[in-house]
Symmetry: C3
Subunit: 115 residues, 3 copies
């Protein structure tokens, strides 16, 4: 019988100008992030995030949002990796808690939790 | 006077190849999910989610993300419903906690919480 | 040495018909929201959210999702501000917990937390 298992991960939502997509995904690859999803065709305005009081986006910038689910241990390396970039460019990273599920056919001893 | 009430729900973010949209929304309908939102025009790469070490997406796949807010009791039936599909196809489901608000004009005895 | 700091904020995901984008962003501006991101090209169906049993969207509505990260103190004013609108129109607001990071070069006494 199958068991439904959850891995407790951190979701990163990286909002960045579209022209820097390859920089961002290369950085994620180097740090060991195994997958990501990219939402295209987004726009933004404002100063939330890294730089208080600094206008981050103009309304006609072409932005993307890169969504990645990573173990908590990778959050800090990724954010440290992006920090020099965000000192020069607009953007923001949101971090939140998610569960990612997978079906396994037998019990194992990893960090996931039965429900 | 109006009271702001929150329903504590689970947000599902179902990332799936676009050609299977109808399969996914039919499954949600059958399980009793009353609404969903679909983000089109997304792309993805990698192996996060159901299958460790299995490349899920190619960068040029046309993906969608179906967002649904559901009571916790529906999470397991939905994930069990998707499991056979994800054994054959790429994709991932993220689960997280959200509050959904609605305004009510008088107090009631449901599971929501005043703020 | 840089410290990685997190601000604990609330993420609002405001799903609304695209024609009301300016109404929504004006409301956010007036309440003091400093930035937002807009996901275009989404669609939806159903009755989740404000109005139980009320069909909110038709599948061919043009919807947008406005994402904003705000201090908890702004959540209630924003939702109260949107309530009269949602009495007349379709839509839903999801609220969830997020951390937003920024790099600071020296310690300060604000509400953020070292990790």
């Amino acid at each position: 019988m199958n068991n439904l298992k959850f891995n407790h991960l951190k979701k990163l939502e990286i909002i960045i100008e579209g022209e820097y997509q390859e920089f961002a995904t290369d950085l994620l690859d180097r740090i060991g992030v195994k997958g990501y999803t990219i939402v295209n065709n987004i726009s933004g305005k404002g100063s939330h995030g890294f730089h208080d009081g600094h206008v981050m986006f103009n309304e006609d910038d072409v932005l993307i949002m890169i969504i990645a689910a990573v173990p908590e241990s990778l959050v800090s390396p990724i954010l440290q990796g992006f920090a020099p970039f965000y000192n020069e460019h607009s953007g923001v990273v949101f971090v939140s808690d998610i569960q990612v599920t997978r079906l396994v056919k037998f019990s194992d001893a990893d960090s996931s939790t039965d429900i």
